[in-house]
Symmetry: C2
Subunit: 127 residues, 2 copies
C-alpha cells in the first residue's frame, strides 16, 4: 500500500480548480489571488512530502509580496496548534516584530478550522 505522501503526490494537480459553474467564484479568484493561492497549495504538498503534518498550507502576503509560507507542522513540532494558518500568523509576527498584521493578507489551501479562523481574526489580517 502506498504511503499517504505518495498518494497525495500521485493525485496531485498543479492547478487550483475553481468550479466553472460558479461565476462569482471565477470572478473572485482573479490572477493575483490565483498566484498566492497556488503557493499555499504548493506548501500543502511540501508539508506532506516532508512528513511534517497534514496537507495544509498558507502564505502571508504584504505589499504584494509573500513574506512567509508555511505548512502544517503538527507532527514535526508535536503541537496540535501548529496548523498552517496558525504557524503562518506566528512566523509573520516574528518576521515583522509585531502582533498586528492588519496590513497583511493570508491565503490558505483549505477553509480554516475554528482555531485558525480565530487566530487570523486576532492577528487582524485580511482574508
Amino acid at each position: 500500500m502506498s504511503s499517504f505522501a505518495e498518494t497525495v503526490e500521485n493525485t496531485r494537480d498543479t492547478h487550483v480548480v475553481v468550479p466553472p459553474h460558479i461565476p462569482a467564484h471565477q470572478e473572485a479568484v482573479n490572477e493575483r489571488d490565483y498566484g498566492f493561492l497556488s503557493k499555499a497549495v504548493e506548501e500543502a504538498y511540501e508539508g506532506v512530502r516532508c512528513g511534517d503534518g497534514g496537507p495544509f498550507g498558507a502564505v502571508v502576503v504584504k505589499d504584494d509580496q509573500i513574506i512567509v509560507r508555511c505548512h502544517n507542522m503538527v507532527l514535526k513540532n508535536m503541537d496540535p496548534t501548529a496548523h498552517a494558518e496558525v504557524t503562518a500568523v506566528r512566523e509573520a509576527c516574528k518576521k515583522l516584530e509585531r502582533y498586528d498584521l492588519s496590513d497583511c493578507e493570508i491565503y490558505a489551501s483549505c477553509e480554516p478550522c475554528p482555531m485558525c479562523f480565530g487566530a487570523i481574526h486576532l492577528s487582524k489580517m485580511k482574508v
Copy 2:
C-alpha cells in the same frame, strides 16, 4: 494614573467567586476544581504582574497534578496566538512529548475564545 498591572493588583480578590444564586454552578465547582481554578486565576495575575500579556491564565492537570501553568504571552512573545490556553496546550505537549492530551484536563481563568476552544478541542483535552 495607575498602570494596568497596578489596577488589576488593587482589585485583586484571592477567591474564585461562584455566583451563589446559581446552585448548579456551586455544585459543579467542587473543592478539587476550585483548587485548580484558583491556580489558573493566580497565573492570570502573574501574567499581568510580569507584563507578559492580558489577565488570563490556564493550568493543565494530569493524574490530579498540575503539569504546566501558563499565562497569556501575547506581548512577551509578540504572538497574537499566545493566549493562556494555547500556550498551555503547547507546553503540555512539549512536556509529555505527544500531541494527544486526552488524559489531561485544562482549567482556565476565563471562558476560552474560539481560537483557544479550537486548540483545546484539537488536543482532545477534557474541559
